[in-house]
Symmetry: C2
Subunit: 427 residues, 2 copies
């Protein structure tokens, strides 16, 4: 099925700002609570949210084979499980309905009143029920920086890193959509030179700038996904902030990896931008430094040119951008990650979330976490309000954004924005 929805010349009859992340070429998917307290699946064009549940009930998808309640759900899991053919058909139809030349909905005032929402009338939810969350570690610069910061300068990239898209399992229960605040976590940490750990609030709460892909049902227990087929099972991408408490992490992480240092919260942007929408922004990734095993060898462009940035907004002040980087710096790409993840027969389901790991670019201002940007707090970052940061302060809001741009069309992710609250106090 052609990617008719990606036509760069199409204009929508809905207003779209020039720098919007959501032109009619994007058509992302999300879940929101409407002004009538109904949860529905929707999309967004410009600053207008579109209720796909209502649109379907009104007959706008009538010749696409969809169950009646496919959009009247509180997660996208079932829709995603329907597979790429359905995703494409629905995106193409939405493009047609909102095309400036199509008058069906445009001139139906009562339908528009049911279907369209201003952004301040809705509340974005987690878009999928996440069965399993996997976090990869696929930025070479990040792995190198962490090797220096947590181990030693001699031992930065471990021998397996250039052969394996290293990853680990994460916690699903603490994944939250943009806008939900997070408490500073408490935990154990070992003060410099001490014999025994102390307990208290983390003093080094950090973000990790990541993206994550969401899968459809891919395989049964025991059955690997060949790399040539892996892309078929990827629905789309979101921004991800993998909140981390560095002092807790340093003390707990050997030998099984980070646990409480990360599972207190992981924030994601609420609109899933489909792989289809990102198709025009495909680029080659970094060249392999060492030969890769056959099951990890792929053909064609499998990386994406996605501009990323992180900003910190102190309470009551203006934000300061603290990092700018790009998705294309990732050494291991998504098809390699998915082929690797399933090569042992591990089953992948609809709604599984797979993070890239922190995306650090090659220059010090493109690193994807405060511990890298401030080199473990050795230097600080100046905010526009004159204050300085080595890590994240109470009541700071961390905002991540991402977009692609080419030939005058911009496809973006909106943002994932999360406020760090002081430690939790029992009422």
């Amino acid at each position: 099925m052609p990617l008719y929805a990606n036509n760069p010349d199409r204009k929508s009859w809905l207003h779209v700002d020039k720098n919007s992340d959501f032109p009619i070429q994007n058509i992302p998917f999300g879940v929101f609570l409407t002004r009538d307290d109904i949860v529905t699946i929707g999309t967004r064009i410009g600053d207008t949210a579109i209720d796909l549940g209502a649109l379907h009930q009104l007959g706008y998808f009538i010749d696409i084979p969809l169950t009646d309640d496919i959009f009247l759900q509180d997660t996208l899991n079932d829709f995603i499980a329907d597979g790429r053919k359905t995703w494409r058909a629905v995106r193409n139809r939405i493009a047609q309905i909102f095309d400036s030349n199509d008058k069906t909905l445009k001139e139906n005032k009562s339908h528009k009143e049911i279907v369209l929402f201003r952004l301040d009338e809705i509340e974005m939810q987690l878009p999928v029920q996440i069965g399993d969350f996997t976090d990869f570690y696929s930025s070479m610069q990040h792995a190198t920086n962490f090797g220096s910061l947590f181990r030693d300068a001699e031992n930065t990239i471990l021998p397996n890193w250039l052969h394996i898209p290293i990853g680990c399992h994460g916690r699903s229960s603490s994944i939250i959509p943009s806008g939900i605040p997070v408490h500073r976590p408490k935990g154990q940490m070992l003060p410099e030179g001490a014999d025994a750990p102390v307990f208290g609030p983390s003093k080094s709460v950090d973000f990790e700038l990541e993206m994550a892909f969401i899968t459809t049902v891919a395989n049964d227990l025991g059955e690997p996904i060949p790399i040539a087929e892996a892309e078929e099972y990827i629905f789309g991408l979101v921004l991800l902030n993998d909140w981390s408490a560095r002092d807790i992490q340093k003390w707990e992480y050997a030998p099984l990896g980070p646990f409480l240092a990360k599972n207190f919260a992981t924030s994601i942007s609420p609109w899933i931008v489909t792989l289809d929408a990102l198709e025009p922004y495909k680029v080659e990734g970094p060249k392999a430094i060492k030969p890769q095993l056959e099951y990890l060898q792929y053909k064609g462009k499998k990386s994406y040119d996605i501009n990323l940035e992180v900003a910190i907004r102190p309470s009551g002040a203006k934000e300061t951008v603290v990092s700018k980087t790009n998705f294309k710096h990732l050494y291991w790409n998504m098809v390699q990650q998915l082929a690797h993840h399933t090569v042992n027969g591990c089953p992948v389901n609809s709604g599984d979330l797979m993070g890239t790991g922190t995306i650090s670019g090659p220059t010090p201002d493109s690193y994807g976490s405060m511990i890298e940007l401030t080199w473990k707090g050795e230097k600080s970052i100046k905010m526009k309000d004159g204050s300085e940061r080595t890590f994240i302060n109470d009541n700071d809001t961390v905002i991540m954004r991402g977009f692609c741009e080419k030939d005058g069309t911009r496809i973006g992710f909106g943002e994932v924005s999360t406020k760090l609250l002081p430690i939790f106090k029992r009422k």
Copy 2:
């Protein structure tokens, strides 16, 4: 509410073998497919499975506040979410219905035909939808053995181990009930002395003898569970075989822990034995070697005297028991694990599964994995059929069992039994 169901003097009008794991004092919970292809929640007395969905429809729980469909579900999550008061009321009622002095069901032939099943008429399912799977690492002997085997003899127990109930996230999608076979996984491994890894079937597939507890809804994001309350949120326990591929594990595990070496399969026993049923078997655990932080300090007996064993059954031969150990050897107990897991505000939901980690006892014949029992294959274990094992062979079945026994009453878990098939071949 009193643990009326635990009365050791009660006999059932259902037949129970002398050595059964499932006397009327047990009353575990599980999910099964009936001869009529209906999925229901049930319990078991002796070798009789009891359809709780049907029993509820027939009015046997009429004065307990339960929703009509609470047992007519394909998972126990909603029942578990109802909390301990409900679990106790239901167990007490079941004890009463099947008490040899109670004639209501005993003398109602048509009801019995609807409610009771022989074990060969049912097919046990996964008892819960597992939102998150956490695997702890709480056996000191196991951590010591692994320190020697994977690192070095100088560096066996890491400094954090005596302060933290170390754990990591696992994969939920590959958790399977007893009886589902598993394919030998393929993956990367680094041959001794080689510069680069090779790809192929694991040559060292191993079991890990664990138990796991299942939680109810415990806390919101940000809110720790105090250790004094932790037990309230634990529904019950199962046996768990944390399948592991040692050659894959050795190459991949640094720095984020095992991934593909473990996520190809994790098997659990299908009947959840409630913490209430295990109450008479509480014992003290090992004394703390180092002082523990306040949030990990508990009062009273929090360990359990549960006899555990592992057997290997080669294809077409009799089984050989290869290890006997006990749950009580675990250094960190469940309330410490749950208090630790949530001290940073990580939310715990109904149906979360938390493994103990491999339970290795103090003697070499009580170790909980083949790599420990054979000390990395340096010695082999003789099977009754004359063959030898260093790891698990294709078509071997690994069987784990567990039970408590005191004053003539035995409460057991049945078994988790899993056959290892040869590598998966695409049709």
